[in-house]
């Protein structure tokens, strides 16, 4: 039996100029915050920006951006809603606030389904919040989303430096281009990644981010957004 879904993904993404896949090698390092706020910043600058939350078991972009009552519509597929200027699709639309207990292969299947039926239309940027790590699910995503460029999120921890190197080597073998590395939750004045050719910058721990959660206007005024904005200059 032939699964037809992957044949149509490129067509679904044909109107999207650039696809930025935000990845990181574990949870809790700010991938979702960076993906969501990046989409927000791009939209704020006047770009047509879309956001796809593919971290199904831990979907959180809708919480960060306070997208509560938006809903997709059905036409020749699923049309993602526009929320705070961002064209947004997430598994949260289907799980109604419940936990999503998916094993790796089911994560891939669900992502494939969503990629096959979502009509993105014309976009300057599609930011993808990837499943954490370099498991099957992430590898499937970069296989299906062929034009994805990686935006790697890391933290200053030594362990993180090592995992980052290994993971980047893997993606390089898979010919996935690396857009850059962002260090989040940085503490030291000098990042251990500063010498990397693709290092884009660091973002400090920002205590005001927590209170801004769910409020895009407030998020845009945080130091987090300001620092990410500087990094996002690579898109201009």
């Amino acid at each position: 039996m032939i699964d037809p879904r992957s044949s149509v993904i490129e067509k679904r993404l044909a109107g999207v100029k650039r696809i930025v896949a935000v990845t990181g090698w574990k949870g809790g390092i700010g991938k979702s915050s960076i993906a969501s706020v990046l989409a927000l910043l791009l939209a704020h600058k006047g770009h047509r920006a879309a956001l796809l939350d593919l971290d199904f078991t831990g979907a959180s972009d809708h919480i960060i951006l306070g997208i509560n009552d938006a809903h997709y519509t059905e036409e020749t597929g699923l049309n993602p809603p526009l929320a705070h200027g961002i064209t947004f699709m997430s598994m949260s639309f289907f799980s109604q606030g419940r936990a999503v207990p998916l094993r790796g292969s089911d994560v891939s299947q669900a992502a494939l389904e969503l990629l096959a039926v979502t009509q993105w239309g014309e976009q300057d940027f599609l930011v993808v919040d990837m499943p954490p790590g370099i498991g099957d699910a992430s590898l499937d995503m970069v296989r299906w989303i062929k034009r994805a460029e990686l935006l790697a999120v890391t933290t200053p921890a030594v362990l993180s430096v090592e995992t980052l190197k290994r993971s980047l080597a893997l993606f390089e073998r898979l010919n996935v281009p690396l857009l850059g590395i962002i260090e989040n939750l940085s503490t030291a004045a000098h990042s251990p990644f500063v010498s990397h050719a693709k290092f884009l910058g660091s973002i400090q721990r920002d205590p005001s981010l927590e209170a801004a959660t769910g409020h895009p206007e407030q998020i845009l005024r945080t130091r987090f957004a300001e620092e990410l904005g500087k990094v996002a200059a690579v898109f201009d």
């Binding site: 032939i2 037809p4 149509v8 289907f94 299947q109």
Partner: protein, 135 residues
């Protein structure tokens, strides 16, 4: 009508396969639609047929036939096999499953032990089961 998007995927994939198998004309496409997808078989067949009239010449006259794949689940915890009927789901939940069959994991539990950790053995997805034609 997210079925429209799936029909388009079927046609793109059928064209790819027909070219790989060096067919000059496709006579029949047999589709297998999993029960979990809750897509009406006849409606989907005519949707595909309709889109085919706009497709490349190779595909235009193909017959479209749909067979249903019954859904079956196996609990990872207690190994019981069960059906969609066994695990009672509401209309609203069925709708979410209709768009993304893996959402079954969100709404269904093993009817024997209550575990949400089960595998979908059969009955998801839309597949091209068979494609026949002339070289």
């Amino acid at each position: 009508m997210h079925e429209w998007a799936l029909a388009e995927a079927v046609i793109a994939s059928a064209a790819e396969t027909a070219r790989q198998q060096k067919m000059s004309v496709v006579e029949e496409i047999v589709l297998n639609i999993g029960e979990l997808q809750s897509i009406d078989a006849e409606m989907f067949a005519s949707l595909v047929k309709n889109q085919l009239t706009q497709a490349e010449p190779l595909l235009q006259d193909a017959e479209v036939r749909v067979v249903r794949g019954e859904a079956a689940f196996e609990c990872q915890a207690c190994k019981k096999e069960f059906s969609e009927q066994d695990a009672k789901v509401s209309e609203e939940e069925r709708e979410a499953i209709h768009f993304v069959p893996e959402m079954a994991h969100v709404y269904m539990r093993c009817p024997a032990c209550g575990s949400p950790d089960f595998s979908i053995v059969r009955g998801r997805g839309v597949f091209i089961q068979e494609i026949t034609g002339q070289p």
